[in-house]
């Protein structure tokens, strides 16, 4: 994909040319550094530094006040956190949200990608439609779905009523329906990116493989499990990992849809931490929660990726 610039220097190098090459390489390097610097500085100042500071804050009792004056408190925040049942509740909700959205996203997107890859009409329309959820500002998405879910005068309840089902559910306001309702919106938002990625993967599978399998008498399902799925595996693993992280870190959608309500039923951890930091103003404590969250995500991801790689190896060994 890329060729190194320095491999282009002439190969036979007599002694006097060697030094010139050295200075040339050095000036090239200086040039490269000069070109990278403008990108590096904002990233260092506004993204690496805050990350490091965030890690440090987690071990202090910092508060969000005009003249902050805080002490290093060791692991106090973490011992306090261990007994904070609200945080663990929110973590449980966050995991249901994340796993629910990620799995449903994958299933729904796989279905759509397969349909889009099977030569149906209306593909152009579907492909454009499939991008809309991705393009829309999260706030607009939330406004839109609040209208869909509206308890009276909402199209969802009107539809349910017209087919004889109960039509007075307050989807976003009811304890039992709020989280599932929010998960559906999460799936809607995340589907396009996953579909587009899976479709690109499907289009890379050589047609011969399918034909060969068909000649061998394999049906549609068998061809999917024997040809499509194994070829897509690496892509599925990558997009699922990314989706998992994105969904775990997602904030705007739930914040605007329900603000964590009703009764904390949709209080995902990121929202919980935001409130701890900017409403209760305990930024040291909030940073500790953030750190715990990061560790959990990394651990879960490591377990998932390990199992995927082990499966890969087992498959190759067969």
């Amino acid at each position: 994909m890329t060729l190194a610039a320095d491999t282009r220097a002439p190969a036979p190098a007599p002694a006097p040319r060697k030094r010139r090459q050295g200075t040339m390489a050095r000036s090239r390097r200086r040039e490269a550094i000069a070109l990278v610097m403008p990108s590096l500085i904002p990233i260092l100042v506004l993204s690496v530094a805050p990350l490091v500071m965030g890690l440090a804050l987690a071990f202090t009792d910092a508060r969000l006040v005009r003249n902050p004056d805080y002490d290093f408190t060791g692991i106090d925040n973490f011992t306090k956190l261990a007994g904070n049942s609200f945080f663990w509740d929110s973590l449980r909700i966050g995991l249901i949200w994340t796993v629910g959205v990620t799995v449903l996203q994958l299933a729904a997107s796989m279905g759509l990608a397969l349909l889009l890859n099977s030569g149906l009409k209306l593909q152009g329309l579907t492909r454009v439609l499939a991008l809309i959820p991705w393009a829309m500002p999260p706030v607009v998405v939330a406004i839109m779905w609040q209208m869909i879910y509206s308890a009276n005068g909402g199209p969802l309840n009107a539809f349910l009523g017209s087919v004889g089902l109960p039509d007075d559910t307050n989807w976003l306001g009811d304890f039992s329906t709020a989280l599932p309702a929010v998960i559906v919106v999460g799936v809607w938002v995340g589907m396009p990116q996953t579909t587009v990625t899976l479709l690109a993967g499907l289009q890379q599978i050589p047609q011969d493989l399918h034909e060969a399998a068909a000649v061998d008498g394999a049906g549609a399902w068998r061809r999917f499990t024997a040809v499509t799925w194994p070829s897509l595996r690496p892509i599925v693993t990558s997009i699922t990992s990314l989706n998992f992280i994105w969904n775990f870190n997602s904030f705007s959608l739930v914040y605007v849809l329900t603000e964590g309500g009703p009764g904390g039923k949709t209080m995902v951890p990121v929202l919980f931490i935001y409130l701890e930091a900017f409403k209760n103003r305990n930024i040291g404590y909030a940073a500790a929660m953030g750190l715990v969250l990061v560790i959990i995500v990394v651990l879960l991801l490591a377990v998932y990726l390990r199992s995927q790689f082990r499966d890969d190896r087992a498959e190759r060994g067969r």
Binding site: L3, I43, L112, R127, V139, I143, G153, P155, S241
Partner: protein
């Protein structure tokens, strides 16, 4: 079985189209309904009477137009900054190998996993210290920084696609390094630059979290923040104008994404496979 497959596929496709498209359709429909119709119990997709006043109502609200202006400024400036900063770096990233490239690509991937919750607190403190916490300039810098990794990723992909031979041929003909860049690399890179710019614009235009935390004075609000305030406040009673405002806010992003369609496919694919 064979005979049944096609109709079943079309049925499934129709269900997807309904699921993906209906919410937007409903929002548009709500944006042209009168408040009487919105509050009535008869529910229909087509309005009884097209009520365009919602749009002029939405535009009459000083807050909405003003914050759309803020959003536009932040999105345009951060897009310009992203391109100017990322272009040289992505060239280096694509053309040099070794540690710089490994570190650069590694960082881009890590940034996808970035715990924004952990970063936002110190970021707020840093910006407050340099006096940029509640300002559009501060938000612009933050948007620039957080779009950079993905922009670098996209751009270096486009640079890699330009064969080094082309540059060498130019150099052989006696053209200087800058001439080669200006005459050969730049024109070939233009579509990639346009795609990256549109992506950056949409990211900033849609962005909610940083804006929510960093901006406090209403005159600095960006469009998503104003819309969010509107939901909690009078939006409950004036659904029509809220829907109209939401439609207007979504238009730039949808237009850009429709144009970007093909490029997004390949750009993300590369990211996903490498991830």
């Amino acid at each position: 079985m064979r005979v049944l497959l096609r109709p079943a596929q079309y049925l499934a496709l129709a269900a997807y189209i309904l699921f993906l498209g209906f919410p937007l359709l409903w929002l548009i429909s709500a944006s042209v309904k009168s408040s009487g119709e919105l509050n009535s119990l008869t529910v229909s997709l087509l309005p009884q009477q097209w009520h365009w006043d919602n749009y002029s109502d939405a535009l009459d609200r000083q807050g909405l137009v003003h914050s759309a202006g803020n959003s536009l400024v932040v999105a345009l400036v951060s897009t310009a900054l992203v391109i100017v900063i990322a272009l040289p770096a992505s060239y280096v990233l694509a053309r040099l190998k070794g540690k710089i490239r490994a570190a650069g690509v590694g960082w881009i991937l890590v940034s996808q996993v970035f715990p924004v919750v952990l970063v936002i607190l110190p970021l707020f403190l840093i910006l407050r210290t340099i006096g940029l916490a509640d300002s559009l300039a501060g938000l612009t810098l933050v948007h620039t920084t957080y779009t950079l990794p993905f922009a670098l990723w996209m751009l270096q992909g486009y640079v890699s696609a330009i064969p080094v031979d082309l540059e060498e041929a130019g150099a052989m003909d006696g053209a200087g390094r800058w001439t080669v860049l200006r005459r050969i690399v730049f024109p070939l890179l233009m579509p990639g630059i346009v795609a990256t710019a549109m992506f950056s614009f949409v990211s900033s235009w849609n962005e909610f979290f940083f804006a929510l935390v960093l901006l406090q004075s209403p005159e600095n609000y960006t469009l998503p923040i104003t819309l969010n305030m509107f939901i909690g406040g009078e939006g409950k009673v004036s659904l029509g104008p809220l829907a109209a405002g939401a439609v207007l806010a979504a238009i730039p992003s949808i237009v850009f994404f429709t144009i970007l369609r093909r490029r997004l496919t390949s750009g993300l694919m590369a990211g996903a496979v490498k991830g």
